[in-house]
């Protein structure tokens, strides 16, 4: 083209520029002269001049204006659907997309839906990072980690992530709105540390721990958001940019420095980061919570970074008075510039934090407010009441609607949106070599997937091939049975909700049937086993009138083996029979209290050559009675069917308080089971091996139960249960309960003392100990610290002694201390436990429950100074309680006749004659923990009734007549309760959530 001739272009340009400065005839003359007969040059210049004349505003507004719409993806409207999620409303926008509240139309739950801009999906590298990060996060099944449900793509190609909808306020908001009490500071830090422990165990580093990423739910539970930055540790380059992008792209200018403030020195240096960066982050957050100020400050991000890299933070005591030295030490250790000098694993830090919390509880410093300005008691009261909970919820609700009221959008969602979405990660991450090379255990590294999230699962089992999971859920007091196809995450209801209770579920060894134990009523022992075909949705379950557990088919399919539970004779048999029926042969048996299995869904395993049968045995220690607290050890029982030889192979000497279903690893090397290690607070998944080695796969604040292992041993499902409780008070005549403890904890067995304090047992710190606290929540003290697990405190009516049961001596026995916890004295002895003490109103006798060897529980009494105990009831009797006038003794009673119903029995203390026996509603679930109390006026016997799925207190008039409902709680469980002298109530209330989790061996 002629235009491309540079000389000619230069000529055109000069003439054009000259012509532009001239107009009318002058321009004509100019053109005539300059073009000088070069018609093509002249034509070109004139064409450009014409174009210039008409161009007008062409290109005068910048390109961004023209492409503006490309920067703003079309928002999703309420009601619109993204796959099976229906948009409720927009709750936040960040630099990289929007967050919506949506409803999952299949599972009927609320989710937060983060939708990324379309352009992300056009960048395969970024998309890969995004999905990788989200997947990594979704594998973390931890109560303190926000759950990722699904990653997908909208119809118009925008990637989305469906995650748990977390209601609450960010730690940033909390710090802004309230001064932080030391107890809360530690509660939050401990929960964050626990979440990070789980993440780090899974190889995930969060890398962006800051107050904006920590959400505190109304009940005090902490959730960490946005493990979106977290990546599986892998090789990658240019770490600094990850940091810089987070640093630089925070949406509001003021937060730039704020974000920089949480960078670790290694992040600031742009060198690869590892878990210890999160320890730093937690250190910074802890410092800020405790002191009200960030540890590293500066006017610009640069100044802050310089401070992080070079300067030591001022001590917390610079900002607040009386910072505990131990807190200073923990923070200092977390904030060492050289990460080799920091805590090396976050768990160490968690242990120190717990230790500090315990120490402070004893010294009753927890409700002290550290941040300056608001140290008055009213702040504490306010922060601990249910009212504040409402305020926070409203805050969030208000925030949720601010899309139409632009005043103050919720920072949670900004944080939520911004951080997950603004993840430009270019970091280098080396795979950190495991320092301790050791034999590879199965499940050495695990992938955890939560299969249910409603928190109401009760039982779960996996099919032998791992394709199906069956589980029981409870809704409004009714239980239903479900089947989930694991691969496609589809759920089908097998049995509609019913009033009865499921007692166990299991698949048949061929995977074709589901067995379940079911009882139509609450009456103990009236249960049956039913069988349902897996692929027969709509089929009727067949009741199997057999006392036999699930059968295990031999590999050659000629024989079956199972456990037969002969309940009348309290004997378990291991039986082998021909596959076609007949030929039954008893291999071995155990008579109660020894058992072949404690969970009736247990089944033996055939060795590969079908010659021997293996059965895990749970062997009760010296205190062999009921399963309250016995030292169990695990063995593998092996029976050679050819020679008849049998042996019991002990799997180490670890003892357990509780043992759930014990599954054999398919290679026979050992077992895997949910169990509570002796002295531990939580039931965790344990592995024991023939070589004596042991480990717990899980390590968190959950209980696990009902393990079922896939045939090839590569995965199992279990039920993860979490308990959160607070102590509440309800004044007489009041309708709104008031929380007097804050934060997450577990409280059991509380009483109101004669001097109007609350004495309770709690194991939230890892130890079960007895504490006391004022009726208004202040002045907490620890009363026991002598080891063992200590429960069931009662205070003598003269306020002189504290009684409780403790296994500090090995077996649970009744102990007495002075009222302040000093001078412990053991009152009961022997190899069988004595538990649940109560003191007579004249402060002379302790009555408690105790089973003689091989016998059920009955009630006994012993002098408060010890001596020879004396049996005072026959038949099963538990949880004794004296009437206020001391004349009557009430307890739960089971005559073991017919349906073995629990009844409320009242006897005269003098002579022991029966005063009255009351039947109770089926919704009263009597077990060893079920409290029974007299009202202070002696007119009612009160207990927890669970009707409608909600715990309320009911009172049985002592003179007879129908029970009366005494409370109107609308949610939560009641773990323990006691009456104040004036008729006010103290209760430990909270929630227990249980979900089915699938745990896979990540190495397979």
């Amino acid at each position: 083209m002629a235009e491309t001739d540079p000389q000619r272009w230069q000529r055109v340009k000069e003439i054009f520029e000259g012509a532009l400065e001239r107009h009318g005839a002058e321009r004509e003359t100019f053109l005539d002269r300059e073009c000088d007969g070069q018609t093509d040059v002249r034509k070109e210049v004139e064409s450009l001049l014409r174009s210039y004349e008409v161009a007008g505003s062409f290109m005068e507004s910048p390109a961004v204006a023209h492409a503006a719409d490309t920067f703003v993806d079309q928002k999703l409207a309420p009601g619109q659907r993204v796959k099976h999620y229906q948009i409720v409303n927009l709750i936040g926008e960040g630099g990289m997309g929007e967050v919506y509240l949506a409803s999952d139309t299949i599972l009927g739950r609320r989710v937060a839906l983060k939708v990324l801009p379309a352009f992300v999906s056009k960048d395969p590298d970024r998309l890969r990072r995004f999905t990788q990060e989200a997947r990594a996060a979704s594998r973390l099944s931890h109560p303190n980690v926000c759950v990722v449900h699904e990653i997908g793509e909208t119809d118009d190609g925008r990637p989305f992530i469906a995650m748990e909808y977390v209601e609450g306020v960010t730690l940033r908001q909390r710090m802004r709105n309230h001064s932080m009490k030391l107890g809360d500071v530690l509660d939050i830090a401990i929960q964050v540390a626990d979440a990070l422990t789980a993440a780090h165990d899974a190889g995930i580093v969060h890398r962006d721990i800051k107050p904006e990423n920590i959400v505190i739910r109304p009940e005090g539970y902490v959730k960490i958001l946005d493990f979106g930055l977290a990546k599986l540790t892998e090789r990658h380059k240019g770490a600094i940019h990850a940091t810089m992008s987070t640093l630089l792209f925070d949406s509001s200018p003021g937060t730039v420095i704020g974000t920089a403030a949480y960078m670790s020195p290694e992040q600031a240096r742009g060198i690869p980061v590892d878990e210890r960066t999160d320890i730093w982050g937690l250190g910074v957050v802890l410092y800020e919570m405790a002191s009200g100020n960030p540890p590293f400050t500066g006017e610009t991000a640069t100044d802050v970074i310089v401070a992080i890299v070079e300067r030591d933070q001022p001590p917390i005591s610079r900002h607040v008075e009386d910072a505990p030295p131990e807190l200073e030490r923990i923070v200092k250790k977390a904030l060492r510039k050289d990460r080799n000098e920091r805590y090396q694993i976050v768990k160490e830090m968690a242990i120190d934090l717990r230790g500090l919390r315990r120490e402070l509880e004893v010294n009753s410093l927890l409700d002290r407010s550290l941040a300056p300005g608001t140290t008055d008691g009213s702040e504490y009261a306010k922060a601990s009441t249910g009212r504040e909970k409402m305020v926070e919820t409203n805050e969030l609700k208000a925030a949720l609607t601010t899309i139409h009221k632009p005043k103050g959008r919720s920072r949670i969602w900004i944080a939520l949106a911004a951080v997950l979405l603004v993840t430009v990660v270019f970091g280098i991450y080396k795979l950190r070599p495991r320092t301790e090379p050791r034999t590879q255990f199965p499940f050495e590294r695990i992938d955890v997937t939560k299969l249910t999230t409603n928190g109401n699962a009760l039982l779960a089992a996996m099919s032998p091939d791992g394709k199906y999971v069956t589980y029981v859920t409870s809704e409004g007091g009714k239980e239903s049975l479900w089947l989930r196809q694991v691969a496609i995450a589809s759920n089908a209801q097998l049995v509609a909700p019913r009033e009865g209770h499921y007692l166990g579920v299991a698949f048949s060894p061929d995977g074709n049937f589901i067995y379940f134990g079911y009882t139509e009523s609450d009456r103990n022992d009236a249960w049956y086993i039913y069988r349902l075909p897996v692929l027969g949705i709509g089929a009727t379950a067949t009741r199997i009138d057999t006392p036999d557990g699930p059968t295990a088919m031999s590999h050659d399919k000629s024989r079956v083996a199972f456990i037969r539970y002969d309940r009348p004779n309290q004997t378990d048999y291991l039986v082998v029979a021909n596959a076609g029926g007949g030929g039954e042969q008893i291999i071995t048996s155990r008579k109660w209290p020894s058992r072949l299995s404690w969970d009736f869904m247990a089944q033996p395993e055939w060795t590969a050559d079908d010659r021997s049968l293996l059965l895990p045995l749970v062997i009760a220690g010296p205190a062999s009675s009921n399963d309250v607290a016995v030292n169990y050890t695990i063995s593998i029982f092996e029976k050679d069917l050819d020679t008849g030889a049998e042996r019991t192979i002990p799997l180490g000497d670890q003892t357990f308080d509780l043992v759930g279903h014990v599954a054999l690893h398919p290679d026979g090397s050992g077992v895997i089971m949910p169990a509570k290690a002796f002295g531990a607070s939580f039931i965790q998944i344990w592995q024991l091996f023939r070589d004596g080695s042991k480990r717990s796969i899980t390590n968190d604040l959950s209980d696990y139960s009902y393990l079922s292992l896939q045939d090839d041993g590569s995965a199992f499902v279990t039920l993860q249960t979490q308990t959160v409780a607070r102590i509440w008070t309800l004044g007489k005549g009041e309708s709104k309960p008031k929380a007097i403890t804050s934060g997450i904890s577990r409280y059991f067995d509380l009483v109101v003392t004669p001097d109007d304090r609350i004495v309770y047992a709690s194991d939230a710190s890892g130890m079960a100990d007895i504490f006391e606290i004022g009726l208004a929540g202040g002045d907490p003290r620890q009363l026991t610290a002598a080891g063992g697990r200590n429960y069931a405190p009662v205070v003598s009516p003269d306020n002189r002694y504290l009684f409780f049961h403790s296994n500090r001596g090995g077996v649970f026995q009744i102990w007495r201390t002075e009222r302040d916890g000093s001078r412990p004295k053991q009152l009961t002895f022997g190899s069988v436990e004595s538990t649940w003490p109560t003191v007579s109103p004249d402060s002379k006798w302790v009555v408690y429950q105790h089973p003689e060897e091989g016998q059920p529980y009955s009630l006994w009494r012993v002098s408060i100074d010890g001596g020879t105990p004396e049996k005072i009831t026959e038949g099963v009797s538990i949880r004794p309680t004296f009437s206020p006038d001391g004349k009557l003794l009430a307890f739960w009673y089971n005559d073991q006749q017919q349906n073995s119903r629990w009844m409320l029995k009242v006897i005269n203390v003098d002579g022991g004659a029966t005063f009255n026996v009351f039947e109770v509603a089926p919704a009263v679930q009597v077990n060893w923990d079920t409290p029974l109390r007299w009202t202070p006026d002696g007119r009612y016997l009160t207990y927890v009734d669970h009707r409608g799925g909600i715990d309320n207190l009911w009172g049985q008039p002592i003179e007879g007549g129908a029970p009366k409902q005494l409370t109107n709680f609308e949610d939560s469980k009641i773990f323990a309760f006691a009456w104040m002298k004036d008729g006010g109530l103290v209760a430990s209330r909270g929630v227990i959530t249980s979900d089915v989790v699938l745990i896979k061996d990540a190495a397979r």
Binding site: E17, V54, M59, P62, A63, A65, V72, I240
Partner: protein
């Protein structure tokens, strides 16, 4: 000076020297910044207002670079890079949107309660970009001026500063490029 900022500055310098990897690393940073800022400005503006891209880039610059320690040369680099990157990004977006919008859906952006018509929809950014490519082959300097002024929204003075040429030259180049590009687009 911290290593963090230095790194960005080094990348800019590296890019100035034609280091391809530096560009790859800078790209997403500027990319996100542009996107974030654009969305923010769009949301902030009243109907009829023009986007202040200059302010946008200045802000990005302030955020990205430790100013006190940055040489003027790097500042020029920065604006140069920003202009190129923004052009690339804007065009990519426009191209992507064009594909999505084929079928003729309404080009309106819902901004909360208000629905704001996006300005200047008549301009085809993709076609302009293609024309600018052709212009660059004829007159590199003019295309750079357009890049800085149109894609980055710099003023004449800033463009002159960044390119190290006189204001008068910028003005002249701008006028001619505008005429040339307009004609290119009109005759397509």
């Amino acid at each position: 000076m911290t290593q963090g900022s230095q790194n960005i500055t080094e990348l800019l310098a590296g890019y100035g020297r034609g280091d391809k990897e530096a560009l790859d690393q800078l790209m997403p940073i500027v990319y996100d910044e542009l996107r974030r800022q654009a969305a923010r400005y769009l949301r902030r503006e009243q109907p009829g207002n023009t986007l202040q891209t200059t302010a946008l880039i200045h802000e990005a610059y302030v955020r990205l670079v430790d100013q006190r320690n940055v040489q003027w040369q790097n500042r020029a680099h920065f604006f140069g890079i920003a202009a190129q990157l923004m052009r690339r990004i804007l065009v990519d977006h426009a191209r992507a949107k064009k594909r999505v919008k084929r079928g003729g859906s309404d080009v309106r952006v819902s901004l909360g309660d208000a629905t704001v018509a996006v300005k200047g929809q008549d301009l085809d950014v993709v076609a302009l970009d293609e024309a600018l490519e052709r212009l660059a082959r004829i007159d590199e300097q003019q295309s750079r001026v357009v890049e800085l002024r149109f894609f980055s929204g710099l003023t004449v003075e800033e463009t002159a500063e960044v390119m190290g040429i006189s204001k008068a030259t910028v003005k002249r180049d701008w006028s001619m490029a505008k005429a040339w590009l307009h004609r290119e687009l009109s005759t397509q």
